[in-house]
């Protein structure tokens, strides 16, 4: 993708280079994402999709290059960026010992966004209203994924970074993710996602292919 110098770009990757285990996964990777846009990262297993997403959310650092949010490097504004960004990874941080409601409430409190009614509403939205008092260990993989989506909803983040958001979900769950992303982008949010399934979203969707 071409590098955009437009000032309106909110999320910018500037010549990112990523190395894993002594191997260069990608280098010179640049893109820009504007409000209301989504970026779909595609590639085979091991091509570096998850690594790219972890660079974008600041969990790991690029070997060279930088990620910018609203014109400033994310490493220089960790707290602000953390407030604006929500990450959904392979592991959801669902504690097996805690009930669904507690899991979500504690995760939201960590971001300073805990309102009891908000937590309940988010659980209803993702279809876990009935499971509020079920322990995390008793949830299925799909239900954990839904719980992670509820955390995303509660976060009020502007940028969603989603690693395989469709994993483990049934048809209704897939529809839910699509609706959530479309609503989020409709409100001016941004999303970066990976997926193994074909994705059809009614939103401006840019594609980025990693060749490995």
């Amino acid at each position: 993708m071409q590098k955009s110098a437009e000032s309106s770009a909110e999320l910018e990757a500037d010549r990112l280079e990523c190395q894993r285990g002594g191997r260069t996964l990608f280098c010179g990777l640049s893109f820009a994402l504007h409000a209301g846009e989504a970026l779909l990262v595609e590639g085979e297993n091991g091509s570096g999709k998850t690594s790219l997403l972890r660079l974008l959310c600041g969990l790991s650092r690029p070997a060279s290059g930088e990620v910018r949010w609203r014109g400033r490097a994310i490493a220089a504004q960790r707290a602000e960026y953390a407030r604006d960004m929500a990450w959904l990874g392979h592991q959801h941080g669902v504690k097996p010992e805690l009930q669904t409601f507690e899991n979500l409430a504690f995760a939201a409190a960590l971001r300073g966004e805990a309102r009891r009614d908000g937590v309940e509403r988010a659980l209803e939205t993702v279809g876990l209203g009935e499971q509020a008092e079920v322990a995390g260990r008793a949830l299925s993989a799909g239900q954990k994924q839904r719980l992670a989506l509820a955390r995303l909803l509660l976060s009020r983040a502007r940028l969603w970074i989603l690693d395989e958001p469709f994993t483990a979900l049934d048809a209704g769950g897939g529809e839910l993710v699509r609706t959530l992303i479309e609503n989020h982008l409709g409100e001016g949010g941004l999303a970066v996602l990976t997926s193994h399934q074909p994705v059809s979203l009614q939103v401006p969707l840019a594609r980025l292919g990693l060749t490995g």
């Binding site: 959310c57 600041g58 969990l59 790991s60 650092r61 707290a79 602000e80 953390a82 407030r83 960004m85 990450w87 990874g89 392979h90 592991q91 959801h92 941080g93 669902v94 504690k95 097996p96 010992e97 805690l98 507690e102 409430a105 504690f106 995760a107 409190a109 960590l110 971001r111 300073g112 966004e113 805990a114």
Partner: protein, 225 residues
């Protein structure tokens, strides 16, 4: 600021709730502590004079091993299930957040040792004054063990089998704590002044309280990278 307080309080409540739901597992370190101390009279000698002499060392070595033993579960589960990533991506200062986690860990693993120690000290024949000093050293020393240990755990949490490495990293740093603590209790038992070693422990604790949280935070970022 209310958001920060809310986050810190939520984290503390979460950790205590998790510990409460694992109470069987949480009972292990204090049990281990009591067992080691109880085995000494059986294994060494029931001679009261000898036991009184070795009591400070026995209790403190047992406390140190119990603390080491309890460290593993500090960040491991959160690392495995992804909760650690969410902690790192919180908008609040990570050193404060990990400080709360270490405090919660001390409440469930260090505080029980303080409650058990007087009973075990009586069993080994320590004098009331020495028991008072022993409690003071444990109050200053066990948070130190948690703080220092947490740095080691944060550095090794990404490794598949970090157990031995953790012990090698942390044990040398525990030695000053052990020396000053047992020194203070032994001094109290023989009627010598105890202020010196206690002040040293207090100084070490002040140092660890300020320096360990940023070190733990940096080590966690490295481990998750």
């Amino acid at each position: 600021m209310s958001g920060l307080n809310h986050a810190l309080a939520g984290l503390l409540r979460r950790d205590l709730l998790l510990a409460f739901r694992h109470r069987g597992e949480m009972a292990n370190p204090p049990l281990f502590f009591a067992l080691i101390v109880t085995l000494y009279p059986l294994g060494v000698s029931p001679d009261a004079e000898l036991l009184r002499t070795i009591a400070p060392g026995v209790i403190w070595i047992a406390a140190l091993l119990a603390a080491l033993f309890s460290l593993e579960n500090l960040f491991r589960a959160d690392f495995d299930d992804g909760a650690l990533e969410q902690l790192l991506l919180s908008p609040y200062p990570l050193p404060l957040l990990v400080g709360v986690r270490v405090f919660a860990h001390w409440l469930v693993s260090g505080l029980p040792l303080l409650l058990l120690a007087p009973l075990l000290a009586v069993q080994l024949g320590l004098s009331p004054k020495a028991i008072g000093v022993l409690e003071a050293t444990l109050l200053l020393g066990t948070p130190l063990l948690s703080l220092i240990g947490a740095i080691g755990v944060a550095l090794t949490v990404g490794l598949r089998r970090g157990g031995i490495l953790l012990t090698l990293l942390v044990l040398p740093l525990y030695i000053p704590v052990l020396i000053f603590a047992t020194g203070a209790v032994a001094a109290a038992a023989t009627g010598l002044p105890v202020e010196g070693p206690l002040y040293f422990l207090a100084a070490l604790l002040a140092l660890a309280l300020t320096l360990a949280p940023p070190a733990i935070a940096a080590a966690l970022r490295l481990s998750v990278n």
